[in-house]
Every structure is written in C-alpha cells, then in structure tokens.
Symmetry: C2
Subunit: 335 residues, 2 copies
Amino acid sequence: MVMMLMKATAIANSNIALVKYWGKRNSDLILPYNSSVSMTLNNLNTKTTVEFNKTLSEYEVTINRKVAKGEELARVANHLELLQNSSPHKIFAKVRSESNFPKKAGLASSASGFAALTLAGTKALGQDLTVKNLSILARRGSGSASRSILGGFVEWTKGSLPDGLDSHALQIKKEAHWPELSMIVTIISTEEKKVSSRAGMSQTVKNSPFYSAWLDTIESDVEKMKQAISEKDFIQLGKIAELNAIKMHATMQTTTPPFIYWEAGSLSIMKEVLKLREEGIECYFTMDAGPQVKILCQQKDIETIKSRVTEINLVKDIIICHPGKEARLTEDHLF
Amino acid sequence: MVMMLMKATAIANSNIALVKYWGKRNSDLILPYNSSVSMTLNNLNTKTTVEFNKTLSEYEVTINRKVAKGEELARVANHLELLQNSSPHKIFAKVRSESNFPKKAGLASSASGFAALTLAGTKALGQDLTVKNLSILARRGSGSASRSILGGFVEWTKGSLPDGLDSHALQIKKEAHWPELSMIVTIISTEEKKVSSRAGMSQTVKNSPFYSAWLDTIESDVEKMKQAISEKDFIQLGKIAELNAIKMHATMQTTTPPFIYWEAGSLSIMKEVLKLREEGIECYFTMDAGPQVKILCQQKDIETIKSRVTEINLVKDIIICHPGKEARLTEDHLF
C-alpha cells in the first residue's frame, strides 16, 4: 500500500477592515449582516502546516508553539472536518501554526490563521479550489478569514443566499495598485481580550440600541470606500475608515453590560492622530476588537507619525504595514 | 430722589444629568429635543451677586475673580437684558460670580452659574418669580440651568409649545428622599474644553448617524429613571445612567470630525468602575461634556471606591457629592 503524503503549508496575511464586519445574521455559516472592505497587510502573517495522517487518533494542534486545547482546538478540528466534508472517512491531522504577531489582541489573528489553515488543509487533502471557494470555506472558520485569501484591497460581499455561497471575498485592487498606502500598527497591549469578537458581536446585535442605525450606514460606506481605493483618494479613505471604526465601537460600548476595547493608551494615540491632522499631517485611525490602534497614512508621513507616536509611553511596539499578498502555498514546512 | 438698592445674591448648586440633555430643537429659546433627569449636587455650587445700578455705563462682570470679556461677558449681559424684558428702560449691572469648582470642564458650571444669576438678577430687579418661571428664565441662559433652580432629583420636561413655556424643571423627589445616594466626582483635567457643549450639541444634531437612534431611547430612559428614583432602586438608577451617558458620548464620537471628551484618565476610571462591579461593589459611571468621570454609588461604598480611584495616578482631585438643595438667596454678598 502506498502512503500518500497528505501535507501542505500555507502563509496568509492578516487583514484589517476599513469598513468593518460586526454581527452575524447566521452564526453557523458565519454570514454577516453587512458587506465589509479590508486591506491585506504584508507584515502580519500566519504560516500553517497541516498533515493528515491515518495513523493519528486525534487532532494534534500547536499554535505559536503551544498545544491547543479546549475551544481553540475544537475550532481548528471543526474546520478540518469541514474541509473533509465530501470524504466518507474523516482523517485526523497534525497542525502547526505560527503567527509573527500576538493573537486575540485585535490584530485579526483568526483571519490569517483560518485563511492559512483552509489553504494548507485543502491542499493537503489534494483539493484544488478556486479563490471563491477557498474564501467561502475560510469564512466558515472565521468571518474575516474570507478576506485574507486575497491580497491588496478586498470586499467581502454579505450575499443573500441562505447557504452563503454568495458571501465571499472579491478583490477590489491588487496590492501593487497603491503600495504607498501605509498602516502603522501600534501595540498597546498583547493581553488576550476579555470579550472575544464572537461574543462581542452577538451581544451587540442583541442589545445595542444603535445596531440598526449602524447597519443603515454601511452600504454607503462600502461604496465610498471602494471608490476611494480605486481613485487612490487617501483623505476620503481615511475619513470613511475612521468614522466607520468609531461607529462600530459605539455600538459595542452601548451594549449592556458595555464593553470597551479602548484602553488609556488607545485613546492617547487616537487623540494624537486628531492632533496631527490639525497640524496638517493627514492620518486617520481605525480600531478593531482590541486595544491596538492602526494609523492609516501615506508613505511620506510614516517617519513623522512614528516619532510622535513613539513618544507616547503606553505604546509597546510599532509595526509598519503596506498592502500585502494573497494567501499562498510554500514548501517551507513547519515540521 | 430715593436710591433703591437693586442688589441680591444667590447660591445655586450644579447638577449632573442621569438622563442627559443633548441637542436643541430651538437654539434661541434653548428648547431641547428630549426631556432629561438630573441630581442637584450639594458640594458643587456657584454664588452670584448682581447689582443693577443706573450710574453704570456697561455691564461689569467678574467670574472667579477674572473680568469676563467677549462671548462670556455677552452671555451674561444678554441674560440680564432678558430678565429686564418687561422694563422700558434697561439698566446695567455689576456681577460677581464664584464657583467652588472649575468651569467649562464638564462640571455644569453654566448650570449653577445661570441658575444663580437668574435668581439673584430677578430678585435685584424686585421681581418675585415662581420656581417654574425662574426655571424657564434660567433655561434661556443655559439649558441645564433650568434644573439647578430645584433641589434633589429633577426632571426637565422638553415641552412642546413653541414659546417654551412648558419646558422647565419639575421636582421628582426632594434631596431628603435619598441622602445616601452619592456621586464621587473625579477630576481628570481642569483645562477648559476645546469643544463647548453648545458647539458639540449642534454638530451632533447635524451629523451624527446615531442621533435619531439616541433620541428614540430617551423617553423610556426618563420614565425608568423616575421610577428608580421614586423606588430608591440604586442598581436600576446606575444602569440607566451609565448606558445613557455612553449613548450620548457615542453620538458625539460619531460626528464628523469626531469629538472625544474622554481622556486616558477617564477611560482608566470607567474601566475601574466596571472592574469594581465585577467584584460585587455596585457603582456606575456617568460623564458629561468634559473628561471628568462621576461615579454613582451608595454611601456605604464611598470609602472603598475612593481608595481604588485614588490609586489611578491620572486622578487630580475627588469631590464627594450628595443630593443638594435648590437655588436660594443669601445675605452674604460678594461685594
């Protein structure tokens, strides 16, 4: 009997939404209430090796050199089961995954993680999927992972079909379209967040008095953002992204009990960004489900902004990103 | 000719809204879009002496020992003209006003200021007005001043008449109803705010995408708050007040450009309050158009909360308040 090597490795970049995804209309299939737009980031990535092996009696998952357990293990295992949906006999797998940035801290580690897992997993199973189908599968692991399958600037269409087959990523522009666009990711805290994005979204949809007002504004934000990207209109992009992020946080903060991802350090940076803008330096902030602040700016202003932000003593680290590549296979396996 | 002494002095306490007023449907008459509920605070007050004098050739106004000029002087002068509306000949006045707390820092100095000015001014003119009419006049100086005319727990009814004669304060309960209710006012910064409440409200009404969603929730907040006060239900009072405050700030933060009254120190205290609650100590925060955080708690928990808040090094000062008295006259003149 021939032992086929069912192993593959993929790298996927994280992505940060410029028009946010917040709230699921279907939690099982991870279908969103609204479309979203993101930028795939070149310097934040996850590399994942998956090896299916008939001799294994359980899933063995290591994330950032720590053995995954409990819910974390279950999410990966469920995803690998999903990738084998068409197979009559499920096989267990060994997975090793490493990110070059902290997880569960609002840097979309589940986006790059599930994008890499989907690509490596399907390849290891000998499947050769279209980008659209990879994006749909990645979405089932983590909503924002659907976007990390593609590079550059990406729209995740909310879709309308009950089975979710029209809810996937579409590329707006490739990364080479606007390489000068920059994101200064400031790290305020690398502690794992207390309220997960999943729990947060669900609570927001359930009880924020502003949730439907938020949704009412999104389709217009998506259209304007796509236009800003196509026209490389930085100010328009920044304005929409910043207001969109604040709106999302406003919906979270008005849930009962309130959850506030902003930390003292986040607020200091947000205010510094507003101040820089008053001084004529065009930059805007965006924030996700975590305390880190991501500053959108143009290549020419990176050094000025970086030096100003570094002066804020609550900033632990700074990562400069530009539009990054799509998820891709590599022969550089982790084991 | 007999020289009548047209001089009077009044003291008015500040008040902090538990259900906020944010937005004017008529800026000239200062008529609000929504009703609001407040607590008059015993330890924050303004004392004002007004003397009308036919020998004066202009208004002479001193606020906290500084001569008032520009817009500040104009607001006081306009108010004194308004008080003399029925007189055929306007007289100038000398005014001295002193608050025991910083002004324009989100501690409702204009509430206690215009309440004291209205009471002292009308008395100096020999008028003897009802509480309702005093409240209506005070409102014309500053919306929240309408509430500082009364003590204890106060509703400011939005009214519906175009002339505003049904938009004034009503007492829900006297201060003696619930003396154990406490407010720990934490001072984060005494700098005057960059965006005045007036400008902030106007911008919010104009362009926050959440403004109408905010208004939709208010009448219910007012009703529940009145019930919580009547029943001395602290938890209910705290919950509604906290969420109401966050909702108001969410409407401001989502204007273009965003304005964020929260400072790093404010956020640290807000989070400490949430943490204390997780530990079983019932306390809630509220915030106004400034960085100070006001913690609602019960008498028995003051010391515990105070010691925890004092540890936060961004806190500059702490003032403990309880429900306070109505605006009143005093013979203790400032000149």
